[in-house]
Structure formats: C-alpha cells, structure tokens
Symmetry: C2
Subunit: 125 residues, 2 copies
C-alpha cells in the first residue's frame, strides 16, 4: 500500500496572510481544530508556516507579534504526486507534523499531516 | 506489520502538575519541541492533557489561567500491550494526535503520537 499525497491530503486547507496578527492565528487554529496554518503573501504564494507550537513559543517568550515574526520561513513541502512513504520520511527527518502541498508556482493546494498517514494503519477491532 | 505500543512509544515523556501555570506549560512545550503534555496530580496519576493547541485556544480567548483550567480532563489513553492499529484507530476517531500510555493505576509510562505511527511508513528513496 503506497498511496500518493493527492489520495490522502486535505484540499480545503485554511491559510493565513503574513501580515495577520498573532491573535488571529490563534483564533483560526482554535476554530478549525488543527495545528498547522500555511502562511501566504497577497499572490497566494507560500511564504511560511505558523502552528499552535509557534503560538505556544511566542507565549513562553512573551512576544505577541505578527504572524511573519513568529512563523517558520523555510517550509518543508510536498506535491500531489509524491508517494506517501517519502512524505512520511520528510515529516520524520524534519521533526514536523504537516507538509503543505504546493504546485510549481508555490500555490497552496492542500496539506498532509502525520495524522493523515497514521490513519492509514487504523483498524477497529 | 503490527507492532505494540511498547515497541514505538517514548518512555522519557515529560509531564506537568495540574497546579502549574499556563506560562510554564508553554515553556516546556517550547523547550521539548513537541505538542502534548500529560497532566498529573501529586501522586503522579494522570488527570488531564494540555497541548500547544490548548495554549493557542487560551490565547484566542484571552484566558491566561492555570493548567487545570485549560487542560482536557477526559483523556483518551493506551497501554503498552495495545496493538498500534487500535491506537491509530483511537487517534483518528477522537481527532487527537497523542495518547498517554498508562498502567492500571493511571501512572504515566510514556506517550505515543501519530508522528510515531506515521514514521512506520517512512522510506527514504
Ligand atoms: C519542531 S515542530 C514540533 C511540533 C510538531 N512536530 C509540529 O510540527 O507541530 C514545531 C515547529 O515546526 C515548524 N513546522 C511545522 N511544519 C513545518 C513544515 N512543513 N516545514 C517547516 N517547518 C514546519 C513550526 O512552524 C514550528 O516552529
Ligand atoms: C481536537 S485536538 C486538535 C489538534 C491535534 N489533533 C492535537 O491533538 O493536538 C486538540 C485538543 O485535543 C486534546 N487532546 C489531545 N490529545 C488528547 C488525548 N489523548 N485525550 C483527550 N484529549 C486530547 C487537547 O487537550 C486539545 O484540547
């Protein structure tokens, strides 16, 4: 069993603009019940990623800034036609739990998480 | 391939006391670079779980309280001898990304995450 990213990714991914506030990111993460928000510029190109972990870090350091001040800029990504065993290797070797799915112009098409991959092994007894 | 939880869990799990502050939880989550902290009482029994998501939610709602005010009390757990396909089913059906591993006295032995299960499918090409 080796599906492609396109078979398991979420395509209704929520993104956030780099000029948004720290508080806006926390609100979206709360409402959507997940941890990872790809950050885009006004042309909808991926410029970073902000997560619940980044919010938690900003709290620990008492830094309540803009998304662009607390996001990770060097984003590990994937593409729809990547085999998920490669994506699982990327997640593990980079110690991250989600990969934005992008096209060749860095437009965000979706997101795939370690939850999506773990689910493939789930069985109800 | 159907390993048991004991084969893939982290046994050096960090826990936090229910009377700790919101800020302390954020600091530990930042330092340890993961998202989930089991919460224990003074007898080291599991009483809840607090995550980066809960910190983010507290930020969104402007509530900077104690861990016991922002944690989830009804914790989905696992045991060392559980088959990981069951654990993967529990993670998916409850929309959570980690399960504290406990013994019959609710002592925390470790933690298993969807990252640990996703890693089983990882292959370097
Ligand atoms: C080191 S991980 C630890 C927690 C957990 N593994 C997670 O991804 O949320 C948290 C950090 O990884 C970053 N991160 C998450 N996904 C990423 C990705 N695909 N590429 C680069 N950084 C990412 C976040 O911005 C955050 O600073
Ligand atoms: C709904 S999940 C969404 C984000 C992500 N799936 C995660 O687990 O971090 C976030 C909420 O689940 C709770 N949670 C995480 N692991 C849990 C577990 N094993 N049992 C019960 N609640 C848990 C957290 O306390 C938090 O309130």
């Amino acid at each position: 069993v080796n599906p492609l990213v396109v078979d398991i990714m979420s395509s209704d991914v929520t993104t956030i603009h780099e000029d948004a506030g720290f508080h806006d990111a926390a609100k979206i993460i709360m409402e959507k019940q997940f941890n990872h928000l790809p950050v885009v510029d006004s042309g909808n190109h991926l410029v970073g990623i902000v997560t619940a972990w980044d919010i938690s870090k900003a709290v620990a350091k008492d830094e309540h800034d803009l998304v662009k001040d607390i996001m990770t800029r060097n984003v590990v990504t994937t593409s729809p036609d990547e085999a998920i065993d490669i994506s699982a290797f990327k997640l593990d070797s980079n110690n991250v739990s989600a990969l934005p799915v992008v096209d060749s112009n860095k437009h965000v098409l979706g997101i795939v998480t370690s939850d999506d991959i773990s689910k493939l092994l789930a069985r109800r007894h």
